[in-house]
């Protein structure tokens, strides 16, 4: 696209160069006075380690695996998040639990392994979008750093407790109901 360059006719005052410089200096001193009289907590720059910024609502930070009140995981190991993940950072292994398969004829599933490779995750929130049970949330913790790579491979219990202290929930490390031994066929009634 051709751009029409319009030559601006400067007034004699502008051509002296002195007056525009004075105007420019007025602009800079205004910024200087405004910034120097602003309290550090009100400035654009957040003095990071001393002051922390509250992320906006909808911020996609560290994940949390949600739980029911009894402490059982909401995730049903449907693998939708793992499929949706563009970075392929979610690893799920499922297991059966409960006695519904004995009484109702179907199985309840939950993940026995739910691992997110935080070094791979791009925090896009696709897993949250894909989840039919709202079992994975991306919340506002943005301070994830570690001295080694292994501690950023977060497992099921890491992910369930990521916000436990903040939400005043107990940290848990076991499922309330035990898993059942693997069977695909109903055992015979004795």
């Amino acid at each position: 696209m051709a751009v029409l360059v319009r030559k601006v006719e400067l007034s004699w005052l502008d051509r002296t160069y002195v007056w525009p410089v004075l105007k420019g200096m007025a602009v800079t001193i205004r910024h200087f006075l405004k910034q120097i009289t602003t309290r550090p907590s009100k400035r654009y720059t957040v003095d990071y380690p001393d002051r922390k910024r509250t992320p906006a609502p909808g911020y996609r930070g560290l994940h949390e695996l949600k739980r029911f009140e009894d402490g059982s995981i909401k995730c049903v190991a449907c693998f939708m998040c793992a499929e949706a993940c563009p970075a392929r950072c979610i690893t799920i292994e499922s297991e059966e639990y409960g006695d519904l398969n004995r009484t109702q004829g179907f199985q309840e599933k939950r993940p026995s392994v739910f691992r997110i490779d935080m070094l791979r995750c791009i925090y896009c929130g696709m897993c949250e979008e894909a989840c039919p049970k709202d079992a994975i949330w991306l919340r506002d913790d943005y301070e994830q750093s570690s001295y080694d790579r292994l501690s950023l491979q977060m497992g099921k219990w890491d992910l369930m407790n990521t916000y436990a202290d903040r939400d005043r929930k107990p940290r848990i490390d076991r499922d309330p109901t035990p898993t059942v031994p693997h069977h695909s066929v109903l055992p015979e009634e004795p």
Partner: protein, 350 residues
């Protein structure tokens, strides 16, 4: 004063000389060091940033980022002192001194307060007493020598960028020296003398800046060129010639070159204050007390140092041909016109 001198078994004159030497050497040096801090924090404030504020004194006191100065100084001392293999070793070593010394020497003539008489002695508040025959020609001459520091640094580095930066800055300083001198000649004419004491005495009622606005403007702009400050810092130029004349310099040599730049700034501000803003004069007071006169000089000096920094963060760098255009076709006619105008006015008896 005399009791203090006798306690140290010194003549009052000797004691006073040593005291002045300490003030004139350490004062601008301290101010130059502080100016590096002002430049960094001030520019940050101008650009709505925060600036360096993380250095802590003894790991505890932040002091508005002032410990950064000490941290930088210690760092410069501890860095390896590198000399490029193909550089001229003697000149490379000499160049920071050549840049540093004229910057310190220039301040010696500036009266930083009113002369006073005590116990039969007249004490002058400038390192070189008035009536020494050099007057304001001395800082001009010393300022012209500053070109050699930059040019020696550029030449001895044996580096294309350095030599380009050195050539540019020496061409610029030489071209602006003419209009600067012409502007100062008008001041000499008005005062009828070139001794700073008499120039300040001539500004008793009205500071020189009012009758000689054009001369002041020319001198002020030339001072930016002489001190190699933005918008005329052609000795450097990150996008074109890396760091210019001090590309090859590191450690304490670099610190000296940097300090010399700020000392030049202090001296330039002192010259502006002495020539155009009445030196130590206080408006409305014909004969201010000595301490007040020193304070007035200090306040004016600090203000003009701040103006140098302020302008630096307002204007971008000129193009080199624009610089030459401004120097030869605008400032030279301006200061020459001012000289003729003042001469005509004096002939008419105004």
């Amino acid at each position: 004063m005399e009791s203090l001198a006798s306690q140290l078994h010194l003549m009052p004159e000797t004691f006073w000389m040593i005291a002045k030497l300490a003030i004139v050497f350490l004062g601008p040096l301290t101010l130059a060091a502080l100016l590096t801090w002002v430049e960094r924090r001030g520019s940050a404030m101008i650009q709505d940033r925060v600036g360096p504020n993380r250095a802590l004194l003894f790991g505890r006191w932040r002091l508005l980022g002032l410990p950064q100065l000490a941290a930088d100084g210690i760092k410069f001392f501890l860095k390896e002192d590198l000399v490029p293999a193909d550089a001229s070793p003697v000149l490379f070593w000499l160049a920071p001194l050549l840049a540093f010394l004229p910057a310190v020497l220039g301040f010696a003539i500036i009266p930083f307060g009113r002369s006073f008489t005590q116990g039969g002695h007249t004490y002058h508040l400038s390192l070189l007493d008035p009536g020494n025959g050099m007057g304001m020609l001395y800082p001009m001459a010393i300022g012209a020598v500053a070109v050699y520091g930059i040019l020696t640094a550029a030449w001895s580095s044996n580096n294309k960028w350095s030599i380009l930066g050195g050539m540019r800055s020496s061409a610029q300083m030489v071209s602006y020296e003419i209009s600067m001198s012409l502007a100062v000649v008008a001041v000499f004419m008005r005062a009828g003398a070139y001794d700073p004491e008499q120039i300040i005495a001539a500004q008793a009622g009205l500071w020189n800046v009012a009758p000689q606005v054009l001369g002041f403007l020319a001198f002020f702009v030339c001072m930016f060129a002489e001190t190699n400050r933005l918008p005329f810092d052609f000795a450097e130029g990150e996008s074109e010639i890396v760091a210019g004349f001090h590309t090859e310099y590191g450690s304490m040599k670099f610190a000296l070159l940097q300090l010399a730049e700020y000392l030049h700034l202090v001296t330039a501000a002192a010259l502006i204050v002495t020539l155009y803003f009445g030196g130590w004069r206080v408006p409305g007071l014909a004969d201010p007390p000595v301490l007040l006169s020193v304070a007035a000089f200090g306040a004016k000096l600090v203000f003009f140092c701040w103006v140098f920094i302020w302008v630096r963060w307002t204007l971008p760098r000129f193009r080199f041909d624009q610089l030459m255009f401004l120097g030869w076709k605008v400032l030279l006619p301006l200061s020459l016109g001012n000289l003729l105008l003042q001469a005509w006015l004096m002939r008419r008896g105004w």
